[in-house]
Symmetry: C2
Subunit: 488 residues, 2 copies
């Protein structure tokens, strides 16, 4: 590998900033470098320019420059690597909190933002105990990742002919092979036969939600979302200035209602309601589609746990029951495989897909080609089907353990388990506050989610929480639940 031949021009910037304060140049250089290293502005591991370069730029002798650097090496600011050069030390403790940016902003940024300043609940800062019981939803369990099969498929996508195909700028297009695999081997398991022009690939389910919101939500239109429901969906809709209508949820999912009828668009998690895991019965699905037709609203079906749904089989998706082309289906392939891969898709009528493609083009052009191609190979070789089955069986085993532990240790709590879900929605006695419980549990390493953020602000219920089995090892489940009971 070729060495870089000239120092980065940012060094000119640094050297040019040495203020002439009457001190000798070598002292000024030492002070500037140590200040910049202390403040974190100079990253650890950066290579310093040659003494020849420093000497020329600063108008000093090379020996003088070398002396300054040697002093800083002795002080631990710099390290000399043999036959390579002098580098900023990696190990030095940085006062990151007091990090000193190159040009601190004196502007009032908030007043310039197009949307309200967005804040999300941050993870508490305090350290977790050494042993944790991760019952949060949607966490990644690396022990389930199909490492060798995925490697094989990434390798297959790295053939020269393959690279020539996915490496180009597809502008607003998708990998044809992935679209074919979705049509043949994924969507039919959800009851959907789709044409290629009815599918667009997204960066996970989240981009699907954002795209659909930008497609349909606008000031003056009304969008219905479930309450409780996904907090991110509500946050996305607030960006668009649309009216948000909160729809009631019962044990069968979203309830058909005059409020629902008054919406232009209704966003539903019919497969497993998020967060209650309620499965909408066929009769209610049909009723909602009939209302959608008679009241002329669009139905967005968000299947956030698609692969597990597939294994639980059973009730056809709203999309598959739709006869008037008014259902938009949001799916995700990445959830259990590796959230970090980020692949999802939308199925919708061609008119809507065309506009979604144009929006996606402006937003980011297209999802990375290499991941699309590797995933197409992964599905084609049958690894996807096998993987989905394995995950579903593993989660099923964990769910049984969680149910038994809950019966033993949390007998006063209400919950119901549905096939093909990785999570449980618990109702506590009304006097208890799930946020307080979650914090107390966290201090003992039991990581659960308070249910409060899932409710609309105006109708908050504080006595719900969610437990998921997607990343907690089977043998930790009972111990974790027992600890949770003790914490109560």
């Amino acid at each position: 590998v070729e060495e870089q031949r000239k120092p980065a021009i940012a060094w000119d910037h640094l050297l040019g900033s040495l203020v002439c304060d009457g001190q000798p140049m070598q002292l000024r250089l030492m002070r500037a470098l140590s200040d910049w290293i202390d403040s974190g502005r100079l990253p650890g591991g950066v290579k310093l320019p040659s003494t020849r370069y420093l000497a020329t730029k600063l108008g000093i002798g090379r020996n003088t420059a070398l002396f300054a650097l040697s002093c800083l090496v002795k002080q631990g600011y710099l390290v000399a690597r043999e036959r390579s050069g002098i580098y900023v030390a990696e190990t030095r403790l940085r006062s990151v909190a007091a990090a000193d940016p190159q040009s601190p902003s004196v502007m009032d940024w908030q007043s310039r933002f197009a949307s309200e300043p967005l804040t999300f609940e941050a993870e508490p800062k305090q350290e977790l105990p050494a042993q944790t019981f991760p019952f949060q939803y949607g966490q990644f369990d690396v022990s389930l990742f199909p490492t060798s099969h995925w490697r094989e498929c990434e390798r297959a996508a790295l053939g020269v002919l393959e690279i020539a195909d996915w490496g180009r700028d597809m502008v607003d297009g998708d990998d044809c092979e992935l679209i074919e695999q979705l049509r043949k081997n994924v969507l039919p398991h959800h009851g959907i036969w789709a044409q290629p022009d009815e599918i667009i690939v997204t960066l996970g389910g989240q981009q699907g939600r954002y795209l659909v919101a930008r497609l349909l939500a606008k000031p003056g239109s009304k969008v219905g979302i479930e309450n409780p429901g996904m907090p991110d969906m509500a946050s996305i809709l607030r960006l668009t200035g649309t009216d948000i209508c909160h729809l009631q949820v019962d044990v069968d999912g979203a309830v058909p209602s005059p409020e629902m009828d008054s919406c232009d668009t209704v966003i539903l998690t019919a497969g497993h309601q998020c967060p209650t895991t309620a499965v909408m019965p066929l009769s209610r699905r049909k009723e909602i589609l009939e209302r959608a037709q008679s009241k002329d609203f669009v139905v967005v079906e968000d299947t956030y746990e698609m692969e597990l749904l597939r294994e639980s089989g059973g009730i056809p998706a709203l999309k598959s029951l739709d006869t008037t082309g008014r259902v938009i289906y949001i799916g995700s392939l990445s959830k259990q495989m590796a959230p970090g891969l980020r692949v999802g898709f939308i199925v919708a009528p061609p008119q809507a897909i065309r506009q979604l493609r144009a929006l996606r083009r402006l937003m980011l052009r297209h999802p990375p080609g290499n991941n699309q191609r590797a995933l197409a190979v992964f599905i084609e070789r049958g690894y996807y089907t096998a993987f989905v089955g394995r995950v579903a069986r593993e989660f099923g085993r964990r769910a049984i353990v969680l149910q038994q532990a809950s019966k033993s240790w949390l007998p006063d709590f209400g919950w119901k388990h549905r096939d093909g879900t990785s999570s449980f929605w618990f109702e506590m006695p009304r006097a208890l506050d799930s946020a307080v419980l979650a914090e107390a549990a966290r201090n003992r390493g039991v990581l659960i989610e308070s249910g409060t953020p899932f409710f609309d602000d105006h109708m908050v219920k504080r006595n719900f929480f969610r437990l998921a089995v997607s990343s907690v090892p089977t043998e930790q489940i009972e111990v974790g639940i027992k600890m949770l009971a003790e914490i109560m």
Copy 2:
């Protein structure tokens, strides 16, 4: 690999739709399958359910079901694969134009869209000649792709510990190793020392543009863009409802002016102006930053050809000259390496980065972790620096050939070549129309870009076009230019 055990539930949907029309069931099944295959609704390569399953679902004997399928095999609709099953034939000609969706939409979608229906100039449909001369900008040249080094880095990112790290849902975070590599080995070459909280990774430069537009552009604010400038930037801004101000461009790039002063945000391609390739001199950069400070506007610096800029060295980025923290820098790493990988970033003050992270979280959570990690390794091992140098030298050689050919064959046209650009902006005599030229050239296989889409509608100049050397092989350049001259 485990075989899938039960047929996809979409088969129930299909079989359930067999209308009872007095014909025997086996004829109805044959007609439905052949219709669905003809219309493209059933994708080629899909496996049919077992005859046992068909017989049960349809209430017929297994032999009857087998007979129906056998007839369709003879007719070429289906193929039987030994010891595997019966599949929809891949080879059958489909009437894709008349594709028949599962549920044709009867809705007026356009009236529901939150933005105007977006259309982009489609590629002409007619076939290209066998030999083409690809002078379009930003196309991918696979011969330059660092295949073996990139493979090595993807493999490195597929270690089990690595997967555990990038595979998780980073919510609104980025790969720390990529951020470190950008700080150490990429940004300093553009004069920028940035703290980790001043950087966010994006899906290529395009997502950087979209994010910054969503951060700052809103109804009632005014955003200045260059004219001519990037058509996509204008399209993105139109989504936000902001006022767009078109800024004049001369041989030194965007011209400081009272119009510029009246903007809240100004988006500039100072490094190489897009599409004219003008390089903004240091004095003008300083003047614009002074105006930004006194008139209190934000400067967005879009470096769409970052790696080439690095090699041409010279003038510090606006971001590196900024002393009041009012410059937002949009960079892209993917352009020359493989547009399909889609990695870019934004450098901005921490207050702005926090809001950008929140917006990106709602938009798609985070860019895929595996690509971020592989790219971090690619930079760390020095491959990135070497690759950038190689590309710059190759483009430099091609540019010399293009200059010589242009002098010989297009002597009446105005153009100027700048170091570190991969494109040339040609001015033709006023009577000529570049769209007409581009279409005529295309018919002979010479692919050039008309300059017209780069101009604001109200001030269209039709006598400009752009030629790029980023994907045309050196030996084709002179022949291509000669053909272009003949076409005139």
